[in-house]
């Protein structure tokens, strides 16, 4: 069952220097209980997609297309209507746990705030739910730490609190925007395991936004690879890693350093990240692509294929 579907979404920003094309005509769906990874480098528009779903884009953003959730287009809703969906239906986990918590408020007040606003829970009922959720994210000794301020927790614990905050109202979909990027690897392993357990227990769908292919490999069923605000490849994670069918995905996978791999040389993708001030006229990856031919620059390739979708005009067999 489709939970959320993004249809032909484009996001542009009006800046003094002109239009920035952040997201270009993207479509995808998330089913109930599915984990989908949005992978891309900085500037690929992955975070903007998540922000647009919850109506959190900056005021100079212009959107096109639709984001359908339960038969309504989220992009057309007013703040008041959106507030009924935020937290209760769709919740978000931000990248930096320190700046997504209010340093002046105790953990208890911050968590209660969300419950009171969205569910009208107060007093003991609210406290009970808060403690349950803090237990669910494995914060030790939760009862005594309710009165603590964010700075009294370590980075990993703060991220757990942010996750607890997202889980409080039992949402159907969690948008996790780089939830482990600011954390150390040992803590990252803790948090990824936690997200996995939560999904298994509560059946929540997760949209995981990350730049780390290693994290994706261990955590998600399906993967969507973005480059310059355009979907390059969308497939089952296993198939994508085993047989990447887009030159960008291939290059990206070869560029990731693997601790268990003995190759001395990392193969880099040549060239520089794209300039997003220009509207797309051809494949955005063509200038850096080893397999590019003249036709690649002439038209924007469509995402095609059943199951394993790719946006590349060259047949798989001809790629290096």
């Amino acid at each position: 069952m489709t939970l959320l579907s993004v249809e032909n979404l484009s996001i542009r920003f009006e800046t003094p220097d002109g239009l920035v094309h952040a997201v270009n005509d993207i479509s995808f769906r998330i089913d109930a209980g599915e984990t989908l990874a949005l992978v891309g480098e900085s500037g690929s528009g992955k975070s903007q997609i998540a922000l647009s779903i919850l109506g959190l884009l900056s005021p100079n953003a212009r959107t096109e297309g639709r984001v359908m959730y339960n038969g309504t287009d989220l992009l057309s809703l007013k703040t008041k209507q959106l507030n009924k969906i935020r937290a209760r239906e769709i919740a978000m986990i931000f990248q930096d746990p320190m700046s997504s918590l209010n340093p002046y408020m105790t953990i208890e007040r911050q968590l209660n705030e969300s419950l009171e606003l969205h569910e009208g829970l107060k007093g003991d009922a609210a406290r009970k739910r808060v403690l349950e959720t803090m237990d669910a994210v494995q914060i030790p000794n939760a009862k005594n730490r309710l009165r603590a301020y964010p700075h009294e927790f370590s980075g990993g614990m703060r991220q757990r609190i942010v996750i607890a905050m997202a889980l409080l109202c039992k949402p159907k979909l969690i948008l996790a925007d780089e939830p482990t990027t600011a954390l150390d690897v040992t803590v990252q392993a803790q948090i990824m395991r936690l997200l996995d357990e939560i999904r298994a227990e509560m059946g929540t769908s997760i949209l995981l936004i990350t730049h780390d292919l290693g994290v994706v490999a261990g955590a998600c069923e399906n993967t969507l690879v973005l480059y310059s605000g355009k979907v390059m490849e969308h497939a089952d994670t296993r198939a994508l890693f085993a047989e990447p069918q887009h030159p960008y995905t291939r290059g990206l996978l070869r560029a990731v350093p693997n601790v268990h791999d003995d190759a001395a040389e990392l193969s880099a993708i040549p060239g520089q990240p794209p300039n997003q001030m220009l509207a797309l006229t051809g494949c955005p990856f063509a200038p850096r692509c080893v397999d590019a031919i003249d036709a690649c620059r002439d038209g924007v390739p469509d995402l095609c294929g059943e199951g394993h979708k790719r946006a590349c005009i060259r047949p798989v067999e001809e790629l290096t």
Partner: protein, 334 residues
């Protein structure tokens, strides 16, 4: 082997928290950032320093470069001990040791064109060189790191992060250093660009016979560039040995946990991370005994008795009293 280019002995760095004492007559608390680290770095080799944030890896190389105060220990560069209190030593140090920083854009002066940025160290350290030679050198260095000469009159903000890091490398090379200290040079860059910069550093090292100390939290990157790896935890040395040995046969429980936590970009490889409980202890109050004992799955009473000495074990140095036992156990279970 002849004498190493850089030799560090029992280096300690402590920062005094001047404002943290409640009353003026109290002794202010100290943060123990680096606690007795020793290593040797041969000419033309690369040492990778890994550890989680707050383990003192950056402070260690900043101390070597003279950017953080040494509280104890010695640094010997090319056979002479560096005296960080002497102005002349510091000037000499600046010439022979150059640093590449984490944030490529912030480490360049926004009001200097990149030609000026690369020319500055040449003009400072080699004032006798004629202007034409300087110009030519700037061109050569920029060319070497892959920045076209026609862009030399541009300002840092006109370049991407990866390009700025290349310019930072060119600037560091312009001083003709013996030793290049890299403080997380690629962690601010995207994966595809990261590989470019790492490969560039490797190539430069081979061509110019550079010696590198490479600090990073990503053990995958470090493994690809280093000859030796030094693993730090809470400012102390945990394991130090040839890169392959450390990665393939980690002897210290911390190294093992660190390696198992690194996500593998392959869904068919099921890694079962040894999940460490808890967080880094407070560096203001160092624990008695082994630094890692509070999170170590193998810790017992002897670990708390005294800080374990670094012992040689199959060519590596390991600071764990149980290293042999654990190695046997690992060999038994395969």
């Amino acid at each position: 082997m002849s004498q190493p280019l850089l030799s560090v002995r029992d280096l300690e760095v402590r920062f005094t928290m001047a404002n943290a004492a409640t009353w003026p007559w109290q002794t202010p608390p100290q943060v123990h950032a680096v606690n007795g680290v020793s290593f040797d770095l041969e000419k033309g080799c690369t040492l990778g320093i890994v550890g989680e944030s707050g383990c003192g890896k950056s402070t260690l190389i900043r101390a070597i470069a003279g950017l953080a105060p040494l509280s104890a220990g010695t640094v010997t560069l090319d056979g002479t001990q560096v005296d960080y209190a002497r102005r002349r030593d510091i000037t000499a140090l600046r010439r022979s040791v150059q640093m590449i920083f984490q944030d490529p854009v912030a480490s360049l002066n926004p009001r200097m064109t990149i030609r000026q940025a690369v020319e500055e160290p040449i003009a400072t350290f080699f004032p006798d060189r004629p202007k034409e030679d300087r110009r030519k050198q700037v061109r050569d260095y920029l060319d070497r790191v892959g920045i076209a000469e026609r862009n030399a009159n541009r300002y840092p903000h006109e370049f991407s992060g990866g390009q700025c890091q290349r310019i930072g490398i060119a600037r560091a090379l312009a001083a003709e250093p013996k030793l290049l200290l890299c403080d997380e040079p690629v962690s601010a860059l995207d994966v595809s660009i990261q590989a470019q910069v790492v490969n560039l550093l490797r190539d430069l090292q081979r061509e110019m016979d550079l010696t590198l100390a490479f600090v990073a939290h990503d053990i995958g990157i470090v493994r690809h560039i280093s000859d030796d790896i030094l693993v730090m935890y809470l400012g102390g040395l945990m394991e130090y040995g040839p890169a392959l040995d450390v990665v393939k046969r980690p002897r210290h429980p911390y190294t093992r946990a660190l390696l198992s936590a690194v996500p593998v970009p392959d869904p068919d490889v099921t890694v079962t991370p040894e999940i460490l409980v808890g967080d880094l202890p407070n560096p203001m109050e160092l624990p008695q005994g082994c630094f890692f004992q509070s999170r170590c799955p193998h810790a017992s009473d002897i670990c708390g008795a005294a800080r374990p000495e670094e012992r040689a074990l199959d060519g590596s140095l390991v600071a764990c009293v149980k290293a042999e036992q654990l190695a046997e156990k690992a060999a038994l279970t395969g």
